[in-house]
């Protein structure tokens, strides 16, 4: 793999920087061979991924090493791209926005300190969901955690990207309480109560005194988070879960309205994946099992898949947690609200303390969902296009019709979820492709561009995106001539005058260059 140097840095200057980096982390943890660099490419890239190729990777083991690396990066003007575990699959993995940027891989920083009485943990960014889950299990802490679809990832990294899970603790960013952050110049700050030396409530109250800067380090390039408090869920007395399958495409309309009401009233306390039939089919089978013709899967074939798996056009799983009286009463509310429209009884799986854990509604780490990239055979990948919209059934049906038509025009299979948050829907559309099929990759890129334009016209924008599209999505946030982008740029210039920290992350520092500033 050809070495791509950081912009404006020559080979000898780059070598000098690597020599200095080695004095901090040791020879072993400056990863700069061809094969090392390849492991940091985007595993699901649209194409070969070399447009985001890193020049090297550094793997620090402590906050002191992170500080030293940032100071050296400033001295050498070499940019760094921090990643927790580099498993942000579908959103670039570990690959930097700008080619030549050096990845700072935090995988070796993986300390966990759990406070069982208060149901929180203080962790480092290298801690993955499997690690935290196993730690809680091995130490018999009666605490549950929320996990996303891909459990290989970093707990902190996922939260900083506004990732979600599917329990009442599933809004991962909101579950952070207290960050330790190294600023681009190497100075350490702590947010919330941690801003006071020796404060005993760092993981108890999120905001501290005065402005709470924790959000400044979410989806940003203004600091490197080296520790975070994470709130955990005390094991409930009971849980119940039920999967609902809806046979018709149009069922989305009434179902979203019912679910939105249940979420507003806090009967459903978790993010609900309201997904189409392709969720199951793409995990358990490959496209060629069903269809080998041209274009997107026809509706008649979709129906065969639905009939085979009994999955319905749409399906979703609802979960209830708490004391038995609460769970039972909420089960009755769900029956009253859903069964008349469904025309059949809901079949709950109940769990009580001491029952086998697989019966519970607990978040259990899994990587099963990764199988969807095998859909086409070959070297697969996916990117997510996820505009945020109001939780309204009519709007959701219109959006589904519009998106399905666009996927079909592009000859790609429509994979979607209308994931229900507290007061919004994240309409997560996965564009699944074969990375080595150049025409398919080109159609995917074109579809993504079309969806950005369609959504902007409809008044929606993405909450998170792949580095290929960060500048474009940032530019869709255009109120008052991109006032937010200009504010971000002013902060970036002030905190990181050399631009050494994650240039281009979410378009900060790059999206408005040459326009609108």
């Amino acid at each position: 793999m050809e070495l791509v140097l950081p912009q404006g840095i020559g080979a000898s200057a780059f070598d000098a920087a690597l020599r200095d980096f080695r004095t901090v982390v040791g020879d072993q943890w400056v990863l700069a061979t061809d094969s090392d660099r390849e492991t940091y490419l985007d595993a699901y890239a649209l194409g070969d991924g070399h447009n985001h190729a890193p020049s090297a990777a550094l793997a620090p083991a402590s906050v002191e090493e992170v500080q030293a690396l940032l100071r050296l990066a400033n001295r050498h003007k070499v940019p760094l791209w921090p990643v927790g575990r580099g498993k942000n699959l579908g959103y670039g993995s570990a690959a930097p926005a700008l080619p030549g940027t050096v990845v700072m891989d935090m995988s070796r920083m993986n300390a966990i300190a759990v406070e069982p009485q208060f149901a929180h943990a203080l962790i480092e960014p290298g801690v993955g969901f499997f690690d935290l889950y196993n730690h809680l299990k091995d130490n018999q802490h009666p605490l549950w955690m929320s996990v996303p679809g891909n459990a290989w990832g970093s707990v902190i990294g996922n939260a900083l990207e506004r990732g979600i899970g599917y329990t009442p603790f599933g809004d991962h960013t909101d579950m952070l309480c207290g960050l330790e952050v190294v600023l681009p110049d190497g100075e350490i700050v702590r947010t919330g109560m941690g801003a006071m030396e020796g404060n005993k409530a760092w993981q108890h109250y999120q905001h501290g005194f005065g402005p709470d800067w924790a959000q400044m380090f979410v989806q940003s390039n203004l600091g490197v988070v080296t520790k975070a408090g994470v709130w955990l869920q005390p094991e409930p007395e009971m849980s119940a879960k039920v999967t609902v399958n809806l046979p018709r495409f149009e069922d989305i309309s009434w179902a979203i309205d019912v679910l939105a009401e249940l979420r507003r009233r806090d009967v459903i306390q978790h993010n609900v994946v309201f997904g189409n039939y392709l969720h199951d089919a793409s995990v358990f089978s490959q496209r060629s099992d069903w269809y080998t013709g041209p274009g997107a899967i026809p509706d008649a074939v979709s129906q065969k898949i639905i009939d085979h798996y009994g999955s319905g056009w749409w399906s979703f799983t609802l979960r209830l947690f708490g004391y038995e009286g609460t769970v039972k009463s909420h089960m009755q509310v769900l029956r009253d609200m859903i069964e008349p429209r469904l025309g059949k009884p809901l079949e709950f799986t109940e769990w009580r303390q001491g029952d086998p854990i697989e019966k519970s509604a607990r978040g259990i780490p899994s990587v099963l969902a990764l199988q969807i990239v095998n859909w086409h055979g070959g070297r697969g990948g996916h990117v997510g296009f996820s505009p945020v919209m109001p939780p309204d059934g009519k709007l959701a049906l219109e959006q589904a019709r519009r998106m399905k038509a666009r996927f079909e025009q592009a000859g790609l299979d429509y994979y979607t979820s209308f994931t229900m948050g507290r007061r919004h829907i994240s309409n997560v559309n996965l564009l699944i492709y074969d990375r080595d099929d150049a025409p398919m990759v080109a159609r995917t890129k074109q579809l993504f561009s079309t969806l950005i334009e369609d959504s902007a016209k409809a008044g929606y924008a993405e909450y998170r995106t792949h580095p290929d599209f960060m500048d474009r999505i940032a530019r869709t946030y255009d109120f008052n001539n991109h006032a937010l982008g200009r504010l971000n740029q002013r902060l970036k210039t002030m905190l990181d005058p050399n631009g050494i920290l994650a240039p281009g992350k979410n378009g900060i520092g790059t999206a408005l260059k040459g326009a609108a500033a």
Binding site: L31, A57, R85, F284, S366, L368, L370, V373, G380
Partner: protein
């Protein structure tokens, strides 16, 4: 030869077939239980931490019928050689390293910061010993 081509060639050499071992598209039926005699070697801890979530035996505690790595290899090999890595005595460390460092299909690459070369050697020794012990009834 390009790295991707090397992997493809290696995979083809081992697999031979991409057919399902069963008729029709796959179902969500849980995988059969496999009895393993796990070798008490350092590689066991490494394998169970880094590999078993995908390549382990049985079905997932999340209700998945088969763990995804085992399912993918079952699809690729049709059961011969075994899809379960702990039943494979024929895999050398160099071969494991090729897949670990490059990824394959849904499996992302694992970096040296996650799995060192020495740990991959330990995994290979563990798999070899476990497969031999498990076949010896």
């Amino acid at each position: 030869m390009k790295r991707a081509a090397i992997i493809a060639a290696a995979a083809l050499a081992l697999t031979g077939t991409t057919l399902w071992a069963q008729e029709g598209p796959p179902s969500r039926t849980p995988a059969p239980v496999v009895r393993l005699n796990k070798a008490d070697l350092p590689g066991r801890v490494v394998f169970e931490h880094s590999c078993a979530p995908c390549h382990g035996a049985g079905h997932g505690t999340d209700g998945a019928p088969t763990l995804p790595g085992t399912a993918a290899l079952q699809r690729r090999y049709g059961g011969d050689p075994a899809a379960l890595l702990e039943m494979r005595a024929d895999i050398e460390a160099g071969f494991i390293r090729l897949f670990v460092r490059n990824g394959s299909g849904a499996m992302p690459a694992f970096r040296k910061s996650e799995l060192t070369d020495a740990q991959i050697d330990q995994i290979a020794a563990y798999l070899r010993a476990t497969a031999k012990a498990s076949k010896r009834k």
